[in-house]
Symmetry: C2
Subunit: 108 residues, 2 copies
C-alpha cells in the first residue's frame, strides 16, 4: 500500500467508513476495533494506518495499546467539495431528466 492518500480515497472503502462510525463515539484499541469485523487484525491495522495518514483518526499510544479516535474534522474537505453541488439538488432538472430518469427525488 502506498500512494494517493487522501480523504476521498480513505472513505471509499466501506470497512473504513464503518471504522469511522465506531470511532466517532468510542475510543477503541486496535483489537477493540477488530472485534467488530470479520477481517484479520493486520487488515484492520492497515485500514487504521490509512485513516491516520489522512488525518481521519488519531492514535494515542498507551503502553502496548493504541487508542484510536475519529477526527471527523477532516471530512470537511469532502463536505466542502460536495457542498458546491448541493445548490443543484433542488434545482429543476431539464427535460432530459424526466425523459430518462427513474427517481427524480425532488422533495420540493
Amino acid at each position: 500500500m502506498k500512494a494517493r492518500r487522501d480523504v476521498f480515497q480513505a472513505i471509499a472503502d466501506p470497512t473504513r467508513r464503518e471504522i469511522m462510525g465506531l470511532l466517532v463515539h468510542n475510543t477503541l484499541t486496535l483489537n477493540g476495533i477488530v472485534e467488530h469485523f470479520e477481517v484479520s487484525r493486520p487488515a484492520i491495522s492497515k485500514h487504521i494506518k490509512i485513516l491516520e495518514e489522512c488525518g481521519l483518526v488519531m492514535i494515542e499510544q498507551q503502553g502496548r495499546e493504541r487508542y484510536c479516535t475519529a477526527k471527523p474534522q477532516k471530512l470537511k474537505e469532502v463536505f466542502d467539495w460536495i457542498d458546491q453541488y448541493k445548490v443543484f439538488w433542488n434545482q429543476k432538472l431539464d427535460a432530459l431528466d424526466d425523459f430518462l430518469m427513474n427517481d427524480t427525488p425532488t422533495d420540493s
Copy 2:
C-alpha cells in the same frame, strides 16, 4: 472493470471529480470532456461509464454523440453520511477529552 460501484468509490478518483465539476455546469460530449484532460479518450470513456453506473452522470445519446450531464443529486448519499459527523466539527474533541469522557458526547 467491474465490482463495487458506489458513489463513494466513484468520487474517490480525482479525474472523476474533475469531470463532475465540468459536467455540472456544461453538458458535454465525450470528446468535449476529453479535451479537458491529458488522458486518452477510452480512459475518459471508462470514467464516464463508472459515473453513469452509479447515477452521477446522465448520458443522452444524440446521433453519434453522447451528451453527458452531471446528476449531483446522487452525491446526497455521501453528504448524508458525512452529515452525521458534522456535529463533531465544532466540538472540542482532542484526544484526552474523548478518552476521558468516552461517553457519547451528546449535544442535545
